[in-house]
Amino acid sequence: MLDQAPETNAVVPERYDGPILEIENLSISFFTRLREIPAVMDFSTKVMPGEAMGLVGESGCGKSTVALGVMQDLGVNGRIVGGSIKFKGRNLNDMSAEELRKIRGREIAMIYQEPMASLNPAMKIGRQLMEVPMIHEGIGEKEAWQRALEVVSDVRLPDPERMLRSYPHQLSGGQQQRIVIAMALMANPSLLILDEPTTALDVTVEAAVVDLVKDLGRKYGTSMLFISHNLGLVLETCDRLCVMYSGEAVETGSIEDVFDKMQHPYTQALFRSIPLPGADKNARPLKAIPGNFPLPHERPSGCNFGPRCDYFEAGRCDAQDIPMSRVPGNDRHETRCLRFEEIDWNAAVEASQSTERTEKGDVVLRVENLKKYYEVSANKMFGGGETRVVKANETISFEARESETLAIVGESGCGKSTLAKVLMGLETATDGHVFLDNLGIENTPIENRDTGTVSSIQMVFQNPFDTLNPSMTVGRQIIRALEVFGIGENDDDRRKRMLELLDLVKLPRAFAERMPRQLSGGQKQRVGIARAFAGGARIVVADEPVSALDVSVQAAVTDLLMEIQRNEKTTLLFISHDLSIVRYLSDRVMVMYLGHVVEIGETNQVFSPPYHPYTEALLSAVPIADTSVKKQHIVLEGDIPSAMNPPPGCPFQTRCRWKKDVPGNLCETEIPPMRTLAEGHQIKCHLAADILDRMEPVITMDAD
């Protein structure tokens, strides 16, 4: 592919030895009717050939704006107000629209977060891929087809011929993202910009895509600009990284330098607010960054991070604009901090108050052999056609005690949401039992449950932007929950109780009159928590309550949830796919796959061998932002099978790497029984005991 005849009228040289991308003092602003909003200020970076550069920061910090600036695609309101963006030595700001068109897609390719949005749903994949070289290099259809075939096999998609002949909607999310990557590689670009390429994917699929991107970068020698909010992911993919905060780069350097010898308070605070292996909610609680992210037009003078910084020195940090300064001794390591040489970076984290481990109480919730099947018929109106059965939950059994946190882990389609629906009474069970204090509720839909039962089991939802009704004030929504649960004698009573609930979730009482759109994501999630606890809930199902929030906010919301749990002795069912946070806060873990519970046990039992093969793969897939952690490299092949058409035998057999160690075709014919390995630790696997004992830990810490 590399020996294509170079185009004679190329805008930039085919071979270039200097930096591929060189951004100097870039400033980008958006202009609204009211004011100029600076989105990026004084941003400089350099990407060398074959280098992968990570761009990390919370939402709103300007990382995507930088990428759009490189593509010169800032929309009608955005303007580059200063600095230069040099691509292979030529300033992109000075290029004509014509020249830019030649560079986009050919020299610089971009991969976006949502794969389905980047593919034309009305065009076969082969056509879409072939377009790229046909437009940019003017090659023939046959040759383009050949190249498409080659690239599709390069992104490790099975049966490339069939892939090229299918439409985007016929592929799974992971496959679609691979096609998008293939499309970006079709023109063999010198620079690949990846804007959160795996955020929409499941962890195991994400791990495979990240693996692929790394390999392709090596194979094609493409430079990469990798934008992500996930430090662990950047650690796995990039050589260098740049941490951004509120429109500025605050620290840049090689991965090792920034991760291990950080020189900026924000980077440090960021690392302290994410749970790392070994962190424990009782011994070492997460340290949330105090305060809020400043709005672009309300930035403080001097250091943007100043008001939230532990090392802030009035009169100095807020006196002038702060330039990037070199950290002596390290390779191209720079920080935007005046005091970096004075701060003792190795000082231990201030021992934030550690709390007592709470005692578990009686069993509150018991689920026995729960099954939930859905019937899907082809034709709704006449009820004819074949009916197919979706087995969303298969023989689920577990129990949860008072003040206990039980984490439910699994990827999309594993049946965890269905389980939550059955518990809440939004669906009734097909078979099996759900006991709340020995009262069977599996067949009582929510409209037949009494108020006490309804208020006992409440839910916290995932998406903060969706969890509150946009056209009702915050206070009104909490009062409504109180009304429904029959709390308070009259309106004044309920209003008082509502204000107390706002205190409970640490929101100012003035928020009662606010509309949800005036609140930030973390604040909305707090209101959601207050609403769930309005009726004195005893069991709270938290469906990925923090996954949509920024890391620094995640820590605060998680801590709040833990604190309320401690005081109210609530049973928390914490649904998540983020194993770091699960390990940090849960007492017990239940791993689900395709409607089955494949492993359940105490947190340390689940996180150490012997594992269920799926747990093992999940653990390996989770990116961990710690350079001292060594992980076994396990990549799952293929996608999760559809629940409409599950594989026979063990649900995980299609992707299991241990299958060959089970004699005969046991895995393909029989669903494994639930086996008890140790007190309270059960797995659903055919593997013999001696093989399980030989399993090695997936995550090991360097002995330092």
Binding site: S29, I446, E447, T451, S455, M459, T467, A481
Partner: protein, 474 residues
């Protein structure tokens, strides 16, 4: 006496000015088009290092500027005519435009007061206030309110009774004086007389009242029916949805005009079908409000009782008056022919509203706040009416404005075919129909109601556009 001229004494210098404005405008259009063809573009905003903005003007910018100022000049001329009409003493000096401007004085005052207040307090008025950020929305709102105020102040504006006949004035051209005006009579027919000798201007203004009496109310009823049926169809889905959608499609597939002809056929009226339809359709608002209060206050029995009984009392009082013309107090009444128009308009509009509501509900019911409502044990009607409906208001308000426009045209069509409304009713459709017969000889009786209809519907469409545009911004 000679009829007065259109522009009066100001015309001498304003007419050439207006003509010049029109010429400049069209020259600008042509120049702009030509320059675009040869590749000239409007100047772009440059940002200087000191964060100031500079615009380099190109010829295209000057052409656009010329067009803008010519439009302003044109409007200023109109304003001057109106001012002339208010200040000059004699009708010959005012001209027809000036005389009309003078008659519309209450409307001008109301419009100025309303706009001044709204713009002053626009930041506190929510979506309505935001409307005043959009020029298109303001123009639309202005047009709609012009006719709204005309309808309200019609008694002050009209110069003669809408059905008063002066036979000498038959087909007289605009600006004609009365042959022998009595003491206190308005001395002329501003827009001339129709083929029976009635005043076209007064009929046009009274027509606004006729149209605006029916169109918004009928649209509101159509929305009540559409919402009350669309919410459960979208929310519950399944067979109910299939059935209701099928019925809606059936109604939509039936030719509208044919349906109207059927409804006004004496046999069908005698069989009581329109009344039966009214009895069903007018029940929906009552159901809507009862369910609304019940779902909200079902655990506070006192409040529930209060709100529901108020809704029931007012609802059935209006119901008896509107549907059966049997108001026990004798205040509310609806003549039979209006009832037919009303029922038919509601009947053909509600399926479309139903479909819009159903579509929005299908989208909104997947949101987490709906799930949150379900998990705290809210009934389905609470979720539909209090969680989903308020969040569907944006598209519904926009559609409401558009639909009043359609209804107005529909009423015009009905009037044009002589359906429903009484023969001498001044509504715009009937007036156009009457004027149609002598259109080639005397265009003046048919044109004013046609232009009025057009401007009202245009205003409603612009208003809907402005609302849509502003509701998307935050």
């Amino acid at each position: 006496m000679e009829p007065i001229t259109w522009t009066g004494s100001f015309g001498a210098f304003l007419n050439p000015l207006m003509l010049a404005a029109v010429v400049v405008f069209f020259a600008g259009v042509v120049a702009n088009f030509a320059m675009n063809l040869v590749g000239l573009r409007a100047g772009e905003v440059q940002i200087n290092p000191d964060h100031t903005l500079t615009i380099n003007r190109t010829p295209v910018d000057y052409a656009l500027m010329a067009m803008k100022y010519s439009v302003l000049l044109f409007l200023a001329c109109w304003a001057l005519f109106v001012i002339g009409g208010l200040t000059l003493p004699e009708y010959e000096q005012k001209g027809i435009i000036g005389a009309m401007g003078q008659r519309f004085l209450p409307v001008w005052i109301a419009l100025i007061v309303m706009f001044a207040l709204s713009i002053r307090f626009k930041r506190k008025l929510g979506l309505y206030g935001k409307l005043f950020d959009s020029p298109i929305g303001m123009v639309g709102f202005g047009l709609v309110m012009f006719w709204m105020f005309s309808a309200i102040f019609a008694d002050l504006i009209i110069t003669h009774g809408p059905i008063d006949v002066i036979s000498q004035m038959r087909n007289e051209v605009p600006g004609s004086f009365l042959p022998s005006p009595d003491e206190g009579d308005f001395p002329l027919y501003i827009l001339g007389g129709d083929n029976l000798g009635r005043d076209v201007f007064s009929r046009m203004v009274m027509g606004a009242r006729e149209v605006l009496k029916i169109a918004p109310a009928a649209t509101l009823f159509a929305f009540m029916v559409g919402i009350t049926l669309g919410l459960p169809a979208g929310y519950f889905g399944g067979r109910l949805d299939t059935l209701l959608t099928f019925i809606a499609n059936l109604v939509l597939a039936f030719p509208v005009i044919l349906l109207f002809y059927l409804l006004v056929t004496p046999e069908i009226v005698a069989a009581g079908i329109p009344t039966a339809m009214a009895a069903v359709l007018f029940l929906f608002p009552i159901i809507f409000f009862v369910v609304l209060w019940n779902s909200r206050y079902h655990m506070q029995p006192q409040k529930r009782l209060l709100y529901i009984s108020i809704s029931l009392v007012i609802g059935f009082w209006l119901y008896s008056g509107l549907a059966f013309n049997a108001d026990p107090l004798g205040i509310i009444s609806m003549p039979g022919n209006i009832l037919i128009v009303f029922v038919s308009v509601v009947f053909v509009n509600s399926p479309t509203v139903f479909r819009i509501v159903r579509g929005i509900v299908l989208d909104i019911k997947t949101r987490d706040y709906v799930a949150a409502g379900q998990t705290r044990g809210e009934g389905p009607w609470y979720i539909m009416l209090w969680e989903i409906l308020p969040n569907a208001r944006g598209p519904l308000i926009v559609d409401f404005c558009l639909r009043i426009g359609y209804t107005t045209i529909l009423l015009g069509t009905l009037g044009f075919f002589g359906l429903g409304v009484s023969p001498e009713s001044p509504d715009w459709g009937s007036t156009i129909n009457e004027g149609r017969r002598l259109l080639t000889i005397y265009p003046h009786p048919a044109l004013p109601p046609a232009l009025a209809l057009m401007s009202l519907v245009l205003g409603l469409n612009l208003l809907a556009d402005g609302l849509r545009e502003e509701s998307l911004k935050d």
